[in-house]
């Protein structure tokens, strides 16, 4: 049971010029962030309920808010998982997806059952430095997802056992200048 009201309230507060332009004292800035976080937590339940209702099955949906620094406990650990891509725009959108993983070889299946071209590339040292002691993913899975207008599509991702020759070749291609 949840509501989008909390996030609406936080967004209302965040319209204040201090929040927009960053001219608040630090403890006020911390409070803006806290209110938005609480609102987003509530909205995750709303989105999960909506997806379960539309899809007809109750899933244990998860949200990864640290994908920009390659942290997602689910994708790092699971052998099989589903990525739901919701597109709020009224036109088809192709989105490049990057997920932190620890395997070297994955299969990605599109909604129509077709295999999707994907690559596994190493997490950069820049990202490893930024996330410090958080997150353990050594690789990122990259593929392009397509989502219908104001709708969603789900992609099934499975870890494939065995050594990925392409990945080994890729690692060889990484080099530093003298």
């Amino acid at each position: 049971n949840s509501s989008s009201y909390e996030l609406r309230k936080a967004m209302g507060v965040a319209q204040h010029h201090d929040a927009v332009s960053g001219t608040a004292k630090q403890h006020v800035t911390n409070d803006y962030a806290k209110q938005l976080s609480v609102g987003w937590d509530a909205c995750q339940v709303v989105i999960s309920n909506a997806l379960a209702s539309i899809g007809g099955s109750k899933e244990n949906f998860m949200f990864c808010t640290y994908l920009n620094i390659s942290i997602c406990p689910l994708t790092e650990a699971a052998h099989t998982f589903v990525v739901v891509v919701y597109n709020p725009l009224p036109r088809l959108v192709n989105q490049n997806i990057r997920l932190p993983v620890n395997g070297n070889h994955y299969s990605v299946t599109a909604p129509d059952g077709q295999a999707v071209l994907n690559e596994v590339i190493p997490v950069s040292s820049f990202t490893q430095k930024v996330r410090r002691d958080r997150g353990n993913a050594i690789n990122e899975l990259v593929f392009q997802a397509s989502s219908p207008p104001v709708g969603y599509s789900s992609y099934t991702i499975s870890k494939v056992p065995g050594r990925n020759q392409a990945h080994s070749k890729l690692l060889k291609r990484l080099y530093e200048p003298a």
């Binding site: 001219t23 689910l74 589903v82 739901v84 709020p88 909604p111 820049f126 392009q144 890729l170």
Partner: protein, 284 residues
């Protein structure tokens, strides 16, 4: 060897073999080639001077000099080339790095920058910018948006409704950038889309810059009562990571490109994950 270049169906991005910095962008569809040098610089934040005691702070951007200092003259770089994505990783310093990225089929260059924690042990507040320098004849003009709605023409050292006596050559030419900034000549336009509101300017013809991060040591005495010195989780300053999307096109067709792409950035698809298999699903 350092990275030389990356390419997809629409674009080719070349790098200077000596410095590793971005050197040129080519639009292969339109046969446009534009020399673009991109680097990160920092302005030394003013603590106030004899002319004016105004310090740079949360409300006020005021560098103590018009000159911006390069964070690095060159970068350590390496590249990754796959069928899905091609990337060049550039390391400017221990606190500034960037990935230049081209996804297959995408008509824009993605720059994902990571800046911070900004060092302040030298006692200097710093305002970090990403600057693009080109040979475009822009005649002091550049363009910024207002919340993605009206694009406004900005003219260096000029105000439309009064005679300006410019006393702050940098700060006096900075404008809010909510989603995009561009420069153009008669034929070619270079557009940069941001993923957040930033300050931006064109301090010289053919040049375009965006402020990506700042860390200051003095309060600007405008009411906040604190210097802009955010500690972050680890109490050594914030690290920020963001993206700039670069479009190179003709002046006529750029609007069609940047409006659609900015829409996609603003209302980006939302990812939700679930463990286990489950049938793939797409509503009809």
């Amino acid at each position: 060897p350092p990275a030389k270049g990356i390419q997809n169906e629409h674009l080719r991005v070349l790098f200077d073999p000596k410095t590793g910095l971005l050197k040129e962008i080519q639009n292969l569809d339109k046969s446009i080639s534009l020399p673009v040098s991109q680097n990160f610089f920092w302005y030394n934040a003013s603590a106030g001077n004899d002319d004016n005691e105004q310090a740079s702070g949360a409300y006020i951007f005021r560098p103590n000099n018009s000159k911006a200092f390069p964070i690095s003259q060159g970068v350590h770089s390496y590249q990754v080339k796959t069928q899905v994505v091609q990337e060049v990783y550039q390391n400017f310093s221990s606190w500034c790095s960037q990935v230049v990225r081209l996804y297959a089929g995408q008509p824009y260059v993605e720059l994902e920058w990571t800046v911070g924690p900004i060092p302040i042990r030298d006692g200097l507040g710093k305002e970090i910018i990403s600057r693009f320098s080109t040979n475009l004849q822009t005649d002091g003009r550049f363009y910024t948006d207002s919340n993605g709605r009206e694009i406004l023409e900005r003219r260096r050292d000029y105000r439309a409704t009064w005679n300006l006596s410019q006393t702050e050559p940098v700060a006096g030419n900075y404008y809010p950038v909510n989603s995009r900034i561009y420069i153009k000549d008669q034929k070619v336009q270079l557009t940069v889309l941001t993923d957040r509101s930033q300050g931006g300017s064109s301090t010289a013809d053919g040049s375009l810059e965006l402020m990506v991060h700042r860390r200051l040591l003095y309060d600007d005495s405008r009411g906040v009562g604190e210097p802009l010195l955010e500690p972050g989780v680890y109490h050594d300053g914030l690290v920020v990571r963001g993206r700039h999307l670069i479009l190179l096109d003709t002046a006529e067709s750029s609007a069609e490109q940047h409006r659609l792409l900015a829409q996609q950035e603003f209302m980006a698809p939302q990812l939700v994950l679930a463990p286990g298999g489950g049938p793939p699903y797409q509503p009809g």
